[in-house]
């Protein structure tokens, strides 16, 4: 039954701007049938395969038309690989050996694994090609692949949850997004934030939305309004900068050279979180110190002015590094990860620290290094000793486990700084897996339990003479950033796309006002109440 115009669906908003669009449901993808033999008609299978490849090629052409110039080139390159003659010949050989058309094409693509192994650029193309092979197989099996998104018009896509791979298929016609599950720190939310697509996640009532309905996605109001228009959008509090500089520095989060260049175009004061995993995810063997140092030098050189906080590799959980022997447990979030893995692969950690030191000297930049996933004070001290013997940088740790939050006093004199990763801290504090799309509501940064723990971390750090910052997603929310400053943190670090907004917010209040706002947050007993009380307090200041 269609929802009446004016109906309000609530969830957790991602982004600062509202958008109106037509509901477009993305259905969950059906699973492909397993490998199977054909009934004996080789010629018919060949024709089927040719037709299916043609169909997917036409789909790529269509995608290419609606895409920008850069994306169009990508689609064209993909089409060329899909229609590769050598690939088709090897698929035909598989059909002749008995496999049906769908199986034969997948087998033919998989057989490229060996030839392409060890080269990051080739492996990426192969991964793309495998996605296309699944499409070919799906077409043959009569299965609809859910992400055939419209290329023109304005659509708000609705689904259970989206994977990072799904988001690669988003077209320009995707102006908004609503998910039934997922939380504010899910990958979908992070990608929407970086692409500036307004979204509402964790909105189970969206199950009743019907294709074709016009809706307003109002992330600031944490809601979707059925039939709503721009006039109903909740205005983000517009912060008018009253001083030139924010009350605490706003840094940028980066993970690659591209990010570093992008961050340098913002007003960010240095980098508050340089995630180094991306440099290693596509390597099949451990890269040499020289190779690592070269990458770090390029990235440090491009980074915005100010200190650069480099996090040693946080492998494991959702970030597998191929050349490290990583466990695959039932509960990845509780498996060995971060610093625990670095302990088992000590040489890798030493090489990484040395590479960063080479780059630091080469560029003359101010570098801070920190270890992820520290659980105890003794781990923190062990890392500090290792880092101080490897280079002349400030040394710190991430605070992402409730356990280390209890031991900050023990780190006085041992560490220069700490940086809070709110995403992981929330998942371990609330026992709510970030990858579990049903747990989104608990991962809301406005949960009073989290705010109170953050208060304790900031106070303990100050007493211990340790500089404290926050680099989790929560710091990308301008209003929440004011709360963080008021709780006593010395800096925040946000996605590049949010640096400007966070900076404006932190330039619009005095430190005294931020303290008052933090007190309001600390007094709240539910997440909703916390957020609305803080927004009210901020509105009365403006």
């Amino acid at each position: 039954m269609a929802l009446a115009s004016g109906t309000i669906l609530t969830g957790l908003g991602v982004g600062l701007n509202s958008v109106r669009g037509e509901v477009f449901w993305v259905k969950p993808q059906a699973t492909l049938p397993g490998p199977a033999k054909h009934a004996g008609d080789v010629a018919a299978e060949k024709a089927t395969l040719r037709g299916a490849i043609h169909h997917v090629a036409a789909y790529l052409d269509e995608q290419s038309l609606g895409a920008g110039e850069t994306s169009a080139e990508i689609f064209e390159a993909l089409k060329m690989l899909l229609e590769d003659e050598g690939l088709f010949e090897s698929a035909i050989a598989e059909i002749e050996s008995g496999w049906n058309a769908a199986t034969a094409f997948i087998v033919a693509v998989d057989s490229l694994d060996e030839a392409f192994a060890g080269d990051a650029a080739l492996e990426e193309r192969l991964a793309d090609l495998k996605g296309l092979a699944r499409r070919v197989a799906a077409h043959i099996s009569g299965i609809h692949m859910g992400l055939d998104l419209p290329t023109t018009g304005s659509y708000v896509i609705v689904g259970d949850d989206f994977s990072p791979a799904d988001t690669a298929w988003f077209t320009d016609a995707v102006v908004g997004l609503v998910t039934l599950r997922g939380g504010p720190t899910s990958h979908t939310a992070i990608i929407c934030r970086s692409k500036s697509i307004p979204a509402l996640v964790c909105c189970p009532q969206a199950v009743d939305l019907v294709d074709g309905t016009q809706v307003l996605v109002d992330p600031v109001g944490d809601r979707v309004v059925v039939g709503g228009d721009a006039s109903m959008a909740t205005k983000a509090i517009s912060f008018v900068a009253k001083s030139l500089d924010p009350i605490i520095p706003v840094r940028a989060n980066i993970g690659s050279l591209e990010d570093s260049i992008q961050a340098a175009t913002t007003a960010a004061n240095g980098v508050g979180l340089f995630r180094t995993e991306l440099l290693y995810l596509s390597e099949t063997t451990m890269p040499s110190v020289a190779k690592q140092a070269k990458s770090y030098t390029e990235i440090l050189r491009a980074a915005p002015e100010g200190p650069i906080v480099v996090r040693t590799v946080d492998a494991g959980s959702d970030k597998p590094v191929p050349f490290l022997d990583l466990p695959h447990g039932d509960n990845p979030a509780s498996d060995l990860r971060g610093f625990q893995i670095s302990k088992a692969h000590r040489q890798f950690l030493i090489d990484q620290l040395e590479s960063i030191e080479v780059a630091r000297k080469e560029t003359g930049r101010e570098v801070w290094v920190m270890a992820p996933m520290i659980a105890t004070a003794s781990e923190a001290i062990e890392f500090a000793q290792l880092a101080r013997s490897a280079g002349e940088y400030k040394v710190g740790i991430m605070v992402e486990t409730p356990s280390i939050a209890m031991s900050i006093a023990d780190l006085a004199g041992k560490l220069d700084f700490i940086s809070v990763g709110t995403n992981d801290l929330s998942q371990y504090l609330f026992a709510a897996d970030r990858m579990n799309a049903g747990q989104g509501a608990l991962l809301n940064p406005w949960q009073p339990e989290l705010v109170r723990l953050l208060k304790a971390i900031a106070s303990e750090s100050e007493k211990a003479g340790i500089t404290s910052g926050v680099c989790g997603e929560a710091a990308s929310d301008p209003a929440f950033a004011i709360v963080l400053a008021g709780l006593g943190f010395n800096s925040v670090s946000a996605s590049s796309s949010q640096v400007g907004a966070v900076r404006s917010a932190l330039s619009a209040v005095t430190l005294e006002q931020a303290h008052q706002v933090a007190q309001v947050a600390l007094a709240a007993t539910t997440a909703d109440q916390c957020k609305s009380a803080v927004l009210d307090a901020l509105a009365s200041l403006a």
Partner: protein, 87 residues
């Protein structure tokens, strides 16, 4: 049969784009062309995937063999391929 050697100048090596450009050119020319690393078996230049699987890197030499007796035609083809490999 006319043979030459070209050098890969593209900083990413023989990746998808130059491989695709070469295959397109070869198909349009209607000629039979083989390519590969010196001292190794050459492959038919009608499949970008096969060419990418050569894993030819920046600075490496590639042998090109074209099935024609017309030096002018061959030279024009070689010049264009070398151009594609400039990145």
């Amino acid at each position: 049969m006319i043979t030459t050697t070209v050098i890969i100048e593209d900083p990413i090596g023989l990746h998808a784009r130059p491989a695709g450009q070469i295959v397109k050119l070869v198909k349009e020319s209607g000629l039979t062309v083989h390519m590969g690393k010196a001292g190794q078996e050459l492959v038919m230049a009608n499949s970008p995937l096969r060419m990418m699987a050569l894993k030819a890197k920046t600075g490496e030499q590639l042998v090109i063999e074209v099935d024609t007796d017309d030096q002018g035609v061959a030279d024009a083809l070689f010049a264009q391929i070398q151009d594609f490999l400039k990145g």
